[in-house]
């Protein structure tokens, strides 16, 4: 699953990711998040940490791609 947040500036990537997560309540999350906002390189991991999600940077050129997923228990 992909979440395209390209061409959005702060704070929209975080807000759209938050809305996306709100739609996944009770489900295991695994999503590729695409963004062009350079601030997201730090913001997306910080947001995920606070939400208790795993966040892995897959690529940062030309588009930043993170894999965001629920922590497996």
């Amino acid at each position: 699953m992909q979440l395209d947040l390209t061409n959005l500036a702060c704070p929209m990537p975080i807000i759209k990711l938050k809305k996306f997560l709100a739609e996944q309540v009770g489900q295991t999350v695994s999503v590729e998040v695409l963004l062009t906002d350079k601030g997201g390189l730090k913001d997306i991991p910080a947001f995920c940490k606070q939400k208790g999600l795993n966040c892995q940077l897959l690529k940062n050129e030309p588009v930043i791609v993170f894999r965001v997923e629920s922590i497996k228990s």
Binding site: N7, C10, P11, M12, I14, I15, K18, Q50, K51, G52
Partner: protein, 171 residues
């Protein structure tokens, strides 16, 4: 998940478009991260909570820190900071604050930002609590009906009763 999520509170006192963005950007982000957010609009800052945001303008006049780029023209021209290269007197001419506001709005959209109304609406949707200073409202002869749905009207004591013990921002 981290339990201590805390609160954010901002006293918003500026009546210009450029300063309304940081308040709503911080508020929406904090709310998205599950913080309780309280915005208190006082004095000219109230304009950011009016039904229409058309009164919010930007002007390089008396605003030396402002960076103003043209949203149109060749690339070399778009990179020029007009507030830096043009004499301050230019901004006193009629229509310049409308022109600067138009340029600012267009540049913000080109950079992936959303219109202020939309950002403000998102804040409310995310549960940001907004209070307009009753005293400021009365001094400036506004009425409750001039403000967007969802804001409350109260004084400073109400604000302090709802805000974090240790930190607030003043914008």
């Amino acid at each position: 998940m981290i339990e201590e999520i805390g609160k954010l509170s901002v006293i918003h006192s500026k009546g210009t478009l450029d300063w309304a963005y940081p308040t709503f950007i911080l508020a929406s982000t904090a709310a998205a991260m599950d913080k309780e957010v309280e915005l208190f609009f006082t004095f000219y800052g109230m304009k950011a909570a009016l039904n229409t945001t058309d009164d919010l303008k930007v002007s390089p006049l008396g605003n030396p820190g402002m960076v103003l780029h043209s949203p149109v023209g060749p690339d070399w021209f778009k990179r020029v900071d007009l507030n830096h290269v043009l004499p301050g007197l230019i901004w006193t001419l009629p229509g310049m604050s409308q022109l600067a506001t138009w340029g600012f709005k267009k540049t913000m959209l080109q950079q992936g930002q959303v219109p202020l109304d939309e950002l403000r609406e998102l804040c409310l949707e995310l549960g940001v609590s907004m209070t307009v200073c009753q005293m400021s409202m009365e001094i400036m002869a506004y009425q409750e009906s001039d403000f967007i749905q969802g804001v409350e009207f109260a004084g400073a004591a109400t604000y302090f009763s709802k805000t974090p013990v240790e930190q607030s921002l003043y914008i």
